[in-house]
């Protein structure tokens, strides 16, 4: 009998621990999925240096700059490996990053334009645009600081 009740108590404790573990695991998974989703679908913002005289852009104007149709500002790209690049091009230009590259290949190999220079990271883009008012880039909203100014936010 004793053995049995002890066994029940132990069993209940194991169940409680297991439940806590499951709850913890579920919470962790949920938090991880939220984090992952936020990374995959991070809000992308188009930025210039804080001292730039440009104050805002429409989606079409941003698209024109990054597809070489408007040349007042010089665009900077995220690295090829960045998921932000895919996000930006699909939200702003309606093209995938690969389609945008194909589009630029057509222009650059026929002397009709120079593709955006590739920066190394969002930090690199912030440094470059804050030191040159002619440059424009895009970064995740969470990376925005006082060195840059948001011109357009792609939801």
């Amino acid at each position: 009998m004793y053995m049995y009740s002890q066994y029940r108590i132990q069993l209940r404790e194991v169940k409680v621990k297991k439940q806590k573990y499951i709850t913890l695991t579920r919470r962790s998974l949920f938090a991880a999925s939220v984090l992952f989703a936020s990374l995959v679908h991070a809000e992308v913002v188009v930025v210039v240096g804080a001292k730039s005289t440009t104050s805002s852009l429409s989606k079409e104007q941003a698209s024109d700059i990054f597809l070489g149709k408007a040349t007042a500002l010089t665009p900077l790209d995220q690295p090829e490996s960045s998921s932000l690049r895919d996000d930006f091009y699909s939200k702003v230009t309606g093209k995938t990053a690969a389609q945008a590259k194909s589009y630029w290949a057509k222009l650059s190999f026929t002397g009709k334009g120079t593709p955006p220079k590739e920066a190394q990271s969002s930090t690199d883009i912030k440094n470059l645009v804050s030191n040159n008012p002619k440059l424009i880039g895009y970064i995740e909203k969470s990376a925005v600081d006082s060195s840059v100014k948001i011109l357009f936010s792609a939801q």
Partner: protein, 409 residues
Amino acid sequence: MTRFIGEHVKISTVLRAMVLAGMLPIATNSFAAEIGGVEFSGSGFMTLAVGQMLGGTNRNVMDYNCPCFISDYAQAAVYDNRSGLQWQPDSKLGVQGTALFAERSFSVTAQAVSRGTANGGADLEWLYGSYKVNEQFTIQAGRKRLPMFYYSDTQDIGVALPWIHLPPGPYGWEAVNYNGINVAYQSQFKEWTTSANMLAGSESNSNSGYQKIYYGRQSVSNIQWDNIFGGNLTLSNDWLETRVVYIQSNTQEYNSSGGWNSTTQAYDIAPAVIYPRASQQIYGLSVNSDYNNWLLRTEFLTIIHPGLGYRDYAHLIGIGYHYGKWQPMITGSEYIGRMITDGLIPPATPTPENMQQTISLTVRYDLTTSSDLKIQYDSQTDISSPAYQATGYDYGNSQLVTLAYDVVF
């Protein structure tokens, strides 16, 4: 047999060079440097393609053992009935360098392309100076592509094309470059972009690839296009692009080596005039769209040769769909060469007619933003008149499958 062994040795050499050259950009990417106020930049593109004939009309045409699929007339790129996979016709490696001078208003651009069809030999396709007068006007002088078609400028850059090879009917021509001057105009009005070019110049090719298809692999033919004059106008917005083109020139072609004689199965010694000097007028229309995930490509071309008594008609229509990184596409194209009076007295006899129809199925997969894999199936049906089929120039039907890797760097 010796010839084939020789070609295979050269192909492997070319491929090694191409693969090495392809690996280099993966490691180094494009480059840019500034020296003495001049900004130098370099970039490139490569297509490694392999094809296999699946069937078609078994016959010898010139010294080609067919069935044959002509993937690029200008380069004499022909898949034929030899056993094994064929790398030569569509594989190519291009490098481009640009020097941008102070104030960024003047630049010099050069582009060289090494081709499998030339056993790795390189040709200078572009070499021109460009002066940007203002935001709207740019003046260019030197060697450039002749803008007969929507994809003329990018015909070698696989990443910028939805196909492995351009539909050969519409895109099969003797001249693809010219030496001369071009004035380019570009402006933006609301959502519409307008771009226009006016060009003048000439082209001379002393060893035409195009005429090797009709005079034999080893033949040497000369083509001259002079007094080239014309222009194109493109209107585009986010989802629609329309382009019209008009180019006129004088043409003259002769064979200097003697052509293949099907009766003697050897090259004739006597050279021959292919076409005497005559004028031509080229009219082209293209309407293209990228709407949501759909892709539409169309081209319509007519060439009138008033002094030669024939006209060329060529057209294509292609429909594709973007599905993530995948892009399946179906394309139909047709070429018609038709005898026609066009002011000749007495009128030309309205035969023979040279006609081919091609259906192409292509699937593209974007590996990275700079590279893709494509697989393409082409089926060409010869519907030429019996009179043309009897000329000995008729290549008949063919089915081809090709696989390609494209990259820009």
